[in-house]
């Protein structure tokens, strides 16, 4: 499959795959709690329903910000599957997130305002680890290009176990799963109602949901890179990582932002940083 078909496949198939993952997530979560759970296709029903609902616009801008959020997320994922520069992918990904934060700030609701502030804190906690993973993948494979990393044929997880664990740690933050669902949680039963997304209704909310599906697939794509020596192992590892995220989500209470920031940076330094230093001695010296 060449790069162009891969990016087009991502743009078309990622929401389907992400939606299915979200549906499986809801069923597995329900089973873990002793419940039966909704049908697998429930997330698709929900989003289709949201598109048929009235779009309550708080102001003229927030709809456009959310469209930008979705567009940049798709762009970063498409760049990733095109085999482009991993750093570029991460920067576009961050830019997309910034649009979500700006959209939440623009609504002037106290709930989304605090949710947006917490989202910024979460980004502050997670981004260093994402950048360290890109740099350490470069150290081992000698390439920042996703195509180069995936095509290196090296068993990257053996070189970078620490970086991988650190990445899984911040993945929980990026997927906004408990204990790091500070900015917006899966259910609106918290002190911030639904945090970041409180003021988005109908089609606006549907855009956020679809963007989340793209986001999930992109992040699991980065997980896949560590196991890219064998596609089957890679896909299995990505799915297993997602299952681990669901397990963590269901067994942990939410952290305060101080603990989130400290623990994420500690994981970054202890797992990512140390692994990076070891790689330096192996490859550069």
């Amino acid at each position: 499959m060449n790069a162009v078909t891969r990016s087009i496949a991502y743009i078309v198939l990622a929401p389907i795959l992400g939606g299915l993952l979200a549906g499986l997530d809801r069923i597995i979560t329900a089973r873990m709690q002793g419940r039966y759970g909704p049908p697998v296709l429930q997330p698709f029903y929900d989003v289709l329903k949201l598109f048929e609902k009235e779009n309550l616009m708080v102001n003229r801008f927030h709809g456009y910000y959310l469209v930008c959020y979705l567009a940049f997320l798709i762009a970063s994922g498409a760049l990733f599957f095109f085999g482009e520069d991993l750093l570029m992918v991460i920067f576009v990904f961050i830019l997309a997130d910034i649009f979500l934060v700006v959209a939440a700030y623009s609504t002037n609701s106290p709930y989304s305002f605090i949710g947006a502030t917490r989202e910024l804190l979460q980004m502050l906690a997670a981004e260093p680890m994402l950048l360290i993973s890109a740099v350490s993948l470069y150290m081992v494979t000698g390439s920042f290009e996703v195509a180069g990393i995936a095509g290196s044929g090296k068993i990257l997880i053996l070189y970078l176990p620490g970086v991988f664990l650190g990445l899984v740690y911040v993945l929980t933050i990026k997927l906004r799963k408990s204990p790091f669902d500070l900015s917006t949680s899966h259910h609106a039963h918290q002190e911030l109602v639904k945090g970041l997304t409180t003021e988005f209704a109908g089609p606006s909310l549907a855009l956020v949901e679809i963007a989340h599906w793209y986001e999930t697939v992109l992040l699991l794509g980065i997980v896949y890179l560590f196991f890219s020596f064998n596609p089957a192992v890679g896909v299995a590892a990505a799915l297993l990582t997602y299952f681990a995220e669901i397990l963590i989500d269901n067994t942990n209470a939410r952290f305060k932002w101080q603990l989130t920031l400290k623990s994420a940076w500690l994981a970054t330094v202890a797992l990512g940083g140390v692994n990076l230093i070891v790689m330096y001695f192996i490859f550069v010296r």
């Binding site: 809801r26 002793g34 909704p38 329903k49 609106a188």
Partner: protein
């Protein structure tokens, strides 16, 4: 679904919460209890409406995007029951906002509440089609 407790004695509220437990698990129909009116299609109200919460009920109703359905759970929400003569009571929920589904009972059984929610979801479909026709 959005649950608002009017002036209920809490009996119906506990039955509503029972619907979320593993025993009844209303999420198997895809229904989630949310705390945000802007994300909900169904407004579920327990208890009668009094002079103080009338404005709250109206405000919640206004904040929900169309199409939307209101369920009055329990006899108090339906008619005001024996509280209707109280100095502060306005009566059932239908004295302030239009109600689509009435779930009788004191307290309403979880099975009855789930049945009411499923009927409400059906009405939601009808209302959606009506909105489309109007356009």
């Amino acid at each position: 679904m959005f649950h608002y407790d009017g002036s209920s004695c809490n009996g119906c509220d506990i039955e509503v919460l029972a619907c979320l437990t593993p025993m009844y698990d209303i999420e198997r129909f895809g229904v989630i209890n949310t705390g945000n009116p802007k994300h909900s299609d169904i407004l579920l109200i327990t208890g009668f409406v009094n002079t103080q919460n009338a404005e709250v009920v109206k405000s919640l109703y206004r904040q929900m995007p169309d199409p939307k359905v209101v369920i009055a759970v329990g006899i108090c929400a339906a008619t005001g029951n024996f509280f209707r003569e109280c100095y502060n009571a306005l009566g059932g929920v239908n004295t302030v906002i239009p109600v689509d589904v009435y779930v009788p009972g004191c307290a309403a059984r979880p099975e009855a509440i789930i049945d009411g929610v499923i009927r409400a979801a059906g009405m939601l479909e009808e209302k959606r089609n009506m909105l489309k026709d109007r356009k």
